[in-house]
Symmetry: C2
Subunit: 453 residues, 2 copies
């Protein structure tokens, strides 16, 4: 597997264009912006994430000798071009929304200003990193909103799309408010709380469920959660209740039980009653198995006695919306604003900023997308993060990013949280409309600019 | 980013269970099987993939010193356990279906027989690798069937879920019959044909589209495909037609044009007419932009003059079915068959094999899932791939895997190819039913075994 950091992890055409840019002298300053064209039908907002990984990528962008050798063996690029890659580095400026910021369609969340070949080459991996983290943070935010006060844990690694997806999903979901992850490598790498219970195989490998519980309890007494649905959930709850005093005598406290199948609400009520009848009110109930937004919303509405959830597939693949209609587009080259007019994919040209207005209670009231040089009402959301290829400040601690995300969700108008969300007001400034018209005239389009989207 | 090969890329509970297994002497031979419980509603078959990556993982499974140091710093595991990991390696046997084989619900595609702690620890990453590759190969197979004779190219890296997803999606889609990939690193790593055209930014950075075309053509004359939808698709087709003779005089042939937006069918017909009117019948038309199965099926049915497609998001995220309901379950421990009975998630116990029967024309007629020791009619699909932790033969060349997949699709009954597919007959043997009953009696369940599913 090539290292993710290899610059060959890109589309072939990026290198082809780099070569052509170099040969025809197109090396002036280019401005690209990353944005989402359209929100998925069932999403009223998105949450920006992945910025720190994107900046790591930009700061570390180099062609190794192995990369250059591989290109030589490929035989599709001239040696002079391949040799020139030895000196490659990203020297540009980047402005971006802070991770955890809520955003909407057409709003740039990251802007790159760099010599054209550099800004071009970064496209594929930048999009790959920002898109996925934003997909997951946005999905996790909806799950968090669906189960207020509940402890949500990422169980997604096995069905995440590969290793990196599992690691980055753990991080993005923690940013959005998850309590932690079952993925050990992600916990260690990002400093996220690690959670773990036990699997059915542990129970099955024993001839007796009670002995399996006791073995696990004696080996792993800290944060002990016993899995009770392997054979008969309620019978296993009774077994747990009978085991509790014996373990307590040995100084071992059963922290919780996990239910992974069947009607989670019905089982949870019965299990709660069994545990309570044995005076075990402090044993929490943890549920998993096909949990998604609607399950969380229903169980929450019904006040089912479940204290926490392990969420795997629906989180780590964002199964209802596994991709966003996003783009990284050239908006200015050599000081001149640019715009593509492709049907359904036209873009707003120029260097843009997004301003947000707030209601008296602090909730979001509306955004304006305008040119950087304009000054509409509201607070600007894009700020400098990279200058001349280097971070302007060290990466913020993950818990600070998470706190920002929590604040953002608290300011989210209620109609945007719904499964069939209302639209949020995003205005396009007059300056931006005028610039789009000017671009179209220059490139031979109609004098009435087609709006993007 | 930790290396994908780190054994810490797993769920915390796998290590917790390993520790408990070791402390309580549960280290006998365990048999686990990987299977899909239920096909997604819109899928009539699945295609097995990811085996070679899974075997690489098993053969290379080691705890590095850095891994063990990280566990020590974590403070959740006893030193004796962590020290014992220095000697860890996978010593088991694996039987599996060949990559590219078509399979159905409940059929094991991989079976692991190894000491319980080893077989347990492998679970998370094995599932992570087999699940994703199978998701993508299955999706790619449907795309290939929807557009017979067309050249399909993977354009998915930017919206794939991370780096590894992009690389492995390129491989899995090539296995299923794609012609190649735009992902340079995947092409180099796996020896897959690399395809690349140009981006809108290349056109936009020039003040004149015709000059942009000419610049690109002179720098990248081989396999030249010009992108014609940046401003006005038909006008750009005329520009291409006018440019062709001048380039031809310089020995440069325009191989194709790409359309990336709008109504692909309408534009393709108009562009074909323009090119043909200029005597440019050998310039092919390549289309991209939101292409999925139904688009392919419609354009194919309407005989639209498109010769190839670039497919990104719908392929690389398998957007209509981004995850499978799959599992890796303990089926036997210490010589005794095991079975979980969790509601809706019960499993068939024991070491299983899948036999396939064929109709006179070679097409698949029906499968039987039975115990390895049975011998129903049909050819067995699982074969030895690893013995005592080592491959029984070198990995097959990717093109041989691809040829097997092509053969499999040719034998697929027509009703299974549909968007609303028919069910394929999969029988469960009498021996397997009897064993399930016996397991249930032993673990205190009902005497009538609940069927899985």
């Amino acid at each position: 597997m090539p290292q993710p950091e290899s610059l060959l992890l890109t589309d072939l055409y990026q290198l082809a264009m780099m070569q052509a840019y170099a040969e025809h002298g197109l090396t002036r300053l280019a401005v690209f912006e990353f944005f989402v064209r359209k929100l998925p039908a069932q999403r009223g907002f998105l949450m920006a994430a992945g910025l720190e990984q994107a900046l790591d990528f930009l700061e570390g962008a180099r062609f190794s000798e192995a990369d250059r050798d591989a290109l030589r063996r490929m035989g599709q690029f001239p040696d002079t071009f391949i040799d020139s890659l030895a000196d490659f580095g990203f020297s540009g400026d980047v402005d971006a929304m802070a991770e955890g910021t809520v955003f909407f369609a057409d709003e740039p969340i990251l802007r790159v200003a760099a010599p054209l070949p550099e800004a071009q080459l970064m496209e594929t991996r930048l999009v790959n990193l920002l898109h996925f983290a934003t997909v997951i943070a946005s999905k996790a935010a909806r799950l968090v909103l669906a189960a207020p006060e509940k402890q949500l844990v990422d169980f997604g690694l096995r069905r995440a799309h590969g290793a990196e997806a599992g690691l980055l999903a753990a991080r993005a979901s923690y940013v959005a408010g998850f309590a932690g992850t079952a993925t050990l490598a992600a916990a260690l790498r990002f400093g996220i709380p690690a959670y773990g219970t036990m699997a059915h195989s542990f129970i099955q490998a024993h001839d007796d469920e009670a002995i399996a519980f006791e073995h696990f309890a004696r080996s792993r007494p800290q944060g002990l959660v016993l899995l009770i649905d392997t054979y008969d959930t309620e019978r296993a709850a009774v077994t747990v209740a009978q085991l509790a005093p014996r373990l307590a005598a040995a100084g071992i406290r059963i922290g919780g039980v996990r239910i992974d199948s069947g009607d989670l609400g019905t089982h949870a009520r019965r299990v709660r009653a069994i545990l309570d009848a044995h005076g075990l009110r402090d044993i929490v109930i943890f549920a998993s198995g096909g949990v998604d937004e609607e399950v969380l919303a229903r169980l929450t509405r019904d006040s089912v006695p479940i204290d926490g959830y392990g969420i795997g597939t629906s989180l780590a693949t964002s199964s209802d919306a596994p991709a966003l209609d996003c783009a990284y587009k050239l908006q200015e080259y050599d000081g001149i604003a640019r715009r593509k007019r492709s049907e359904g994919k036209a873009t707003w040209p120029g260097r843009k900023q997004v301003w947000r207005r707030y209601a008296a209670d602090g909730s979001f009231a509306g955004d304006t997308i305008g040119l950087e040089t304009e000054a509409p009402t509201g607070d600007p959301l894009l700020a400098p993060v990279l200058r001349r290829g280097r971070r302007v400040r060290p990466p913020p601690p993950l818990d600070a990013i998470r706190a920002h995300a929590t604040d953002q969700l608290a300011c989210l108008p209620v109609p945007l949280r719904r499964a069939e969300p209302a639209a949020y007001p995003v205005e396009v400034s007059c300056g931006l409309r005028a610039l789009a018209e000017e671009c179209d005239r220059r490139t031979g389009g109609s004098s009435r600019p087609a709006p993007p989207g």
